[in-house]
Symmetry: C2
């Protein structure tokens, strides 16, 4: 194990914490830009509560509404302009993963003179990785991406149909204000996609990490076991606050670095899914539900031992030996069954995607994280043919 861990985000977690937003924001600025998504926070009254808290603390605010489910660079440009025009000195993300990601890049774009797309890695020669950003406060309204307590952001370019990412220190939120009550009104399908997103963050590191990380394996299994158990409850009864809280805590630890420390995670499943959702406006978690089991069946053949461990420790199966591929595949089947049981799609056809652009998706998937031979980084690495093969198996 040879690694660094650094996560300076101050996490404040608990039901009702939204009421602290004004005090928290007031420590970092006087005029906030509130970034929101498609309007659900206004319909649900969450926005009004946030504003009431800011008002009580004497923090002024401007708004950037309308961040898309796959947040676009055009929205980042617009948000940065609003922040400049309004003199915003702190950025508040009030929404799901896409809203938080857009808000992070807006916070950096405000302090960058060029085009914000320069800040997103998309295979360009000179990736301008940002080194400064306005203070960011995340207030998630969905348990899924874990963006609230990490320094990553995924942004789509609506013109070039490329969806890619940036991950760097200045994008760590100063504060993640996480109030599980805000997720009580999330509909069943989005809850299920969030559950899939959480588990996929963990399985990426678990299956695409280096060997010899037994403590991290147990951490990952703990998150998966609980996300399955509490995710089922949250999907079955959206008003179950305990289930909502456990799923939300799972979403945070799934991608704030705790579970992946030392693992050297590679995210091939995400890279493939990003290629899909860049071309089709599908929810990230729904795309992952299709790609992840298909990828697992591909990867299990190359590296069965970890999949056997998964089958045994997550689903209680018993393997004949540590490389028992049958057992590994049974574990994957059980995982896929779980995804179906909470209402996730597991075939591309359910997402309305056919094989017309398979070659394009494969090209896009390897754009940033590839080896010298152009293979997608992962364990094992994937040729473009491998990627097409995985997608074909999920038709």
């Amino acid at each position: 194990m040879d690694f660094e861990f650094y996560n300076p985000t101050h996490l404040i977690f608990g039901a009702g914490k939204l009421a602290q937003l004004g005090d928290v924001a007031g420590k970092h600025g006087k005029k906030a830009l509130i970034v929101t998504g498609g309007g659900s926070v206004k319909r649900s009254g969450i926005f009004d509560k946030a504003v009431a808290s800011l008002n009580a603390a004497g923090v002024a605010y401007a708004e950037c509404e309308g961040v898309e489910p796959n947040p676009r660079i055009t929205t980042v440009r617009r948000g940065a302009q609003i922040a400049r025009d309004e003199g915003s000195d702190v950025i508040i993300a009030l929404g799901g993963g896409s809203t938080m990601d857009a808000a992070k890049v807006i916070a950096a774009a405000v302090l960058y003179d060029g085009d914000p797309w320069d800040l997103i890695g998309h295979g360009q020669e000179n990736w301008v990785i940002p080194n400064q950003a306005l203070p960011i406060i995340t207030v998630p309204t969905l348990a899924a991406t874990g963006s609230e307590m990490n320094c990553g952001a995924v942004i789509s370019n609506d013109e070039t149909k490329v969806k890619s990412f940036v991950q760097t220190e200045c994008l760590f939120p100063k504060v993640a204000l996480v109030d599980p009550e805000l997720t009580l009104s999330v509909p069943k399908d989005q809850t299920a996609y969030g559950v899939c997103d959480i588990i996929t963050h963990v399985t990426e590191g678990y299956f695409n990490g280096v060997d010899g990380t037994p403590i991290q394996d147990r951490f990952a299994e703990g998150v998966i076991l609980n996300t399955i158990a509490w995710g089922q409850k949250a999907v079955a009864d959206g008003s179950d606050l305990e289930a909502r809280a456990q799923v939300q805590w799972a979403s945070i630890v799934a991608l704030n670095g705790f579970v992946q420390a030392g693992v050297e995670m590679l995210p091939p499943v995400h890279m493939i899914e990003h290629a899909l959702s860049a071309h089709h406006d599908i929810t990230h978690g729904a795309g992952l539900a299709v790609v992840n089991p298909a990828w697992m069946r591909f990867a299990a053949k190359a590296r069965p031992a970890k999949f056997v461990q998964f089958a045994e420790r997550i689903f209680g199966l018993r393997a004949k030996n540590s490389n028992d591929l049958d057992c590994a595949l049974k574990g994957i089947e059980r995982f896929e069954d779980f995804l179906k049981s909470i209402g996730c799609p597991t075939r591309l056809s359910e997402l309305g995607i056919d094989d017309a652009l398979f070659s394009q998706y494969a090209d896009d998937a390897v754009l940033v994280l590839h080896d010298e031979d152009g293979n997608l980084l992962g364990r094992p690495p994937m040729s473009k043919e491998d990627i097409v093969g995985v997608l074909r198996s999920a038709l």
Copy 2:
């Protein structure tokens, strides 16, 4: 779950990382105070390597040698004076838990005009909790206390025989430079005591936390399972670098807040052990090996379910029901057997401690963390009679 998590320490982990000390220190200061213990870092050559790295980076240094196994406030006073006289602007702790704890309080004491004992909570009316400290870099040479990546410190007063603590934000190390190679020369007994210390940090939160933390339970169990497995290997063969690395990583996560987030941990076992080691110069981990199983047998009667879970998930036992006290006690016995197997004492007599001062230990144990009735905080709370009873059971 209602909690905050904040840990801004930058962890750099891996074999050979000591060579980066100069570069790391140079980012935080120009003249270091190196704090060390009884001399083992000099005999082993670790000190020379540290100094070579500082020299190469142009960082000057002064020394504060001789921190005791239970670090004394007199040593803190001496270290702070050296730092002032030498104009130190960064504090490097090169040693075990006691060295790191002393270094932390020295870093705060340098910037405090009064007596450093004011900074340690010991039941006084005006506890001056420090709010500033020189930058601290921890370089642990022992896997045990986890002090390298948290903001706590335990200090003893040699005059009043009180051992107590301080825990506050400014004591977070800027960097924890953790090089498992530095622990290769730790003798068998100290390795075993470290293993016990690590597990006890986790069991304190596990058994003395609130209910309803299923993810944290799995994290805790993962640390315990691996500390048992890799701890046995590290004790059996001190030159096993992989075992040393896993145990050291376990020591970090056992007390950096990951495992305890949301748990509202109370540390009665530590409070009782501190009372013992304030009066007897025993190694903290050895004291814990005696107190922890005795405390567990007391606590299991009040709160059997968690001990049943421990017996099942750590030792693979099968309970008749979730409150099966027999199963709980068998799990504790297995845990005690493990401690014996690696050479830890499990009776007070092995530490040379008799019942002469039991009442005094009980008074000392409740000094800081007590409820309105004077009971030691824990789940369940403990009267002084309960504490004496636990100690008597461990004679």
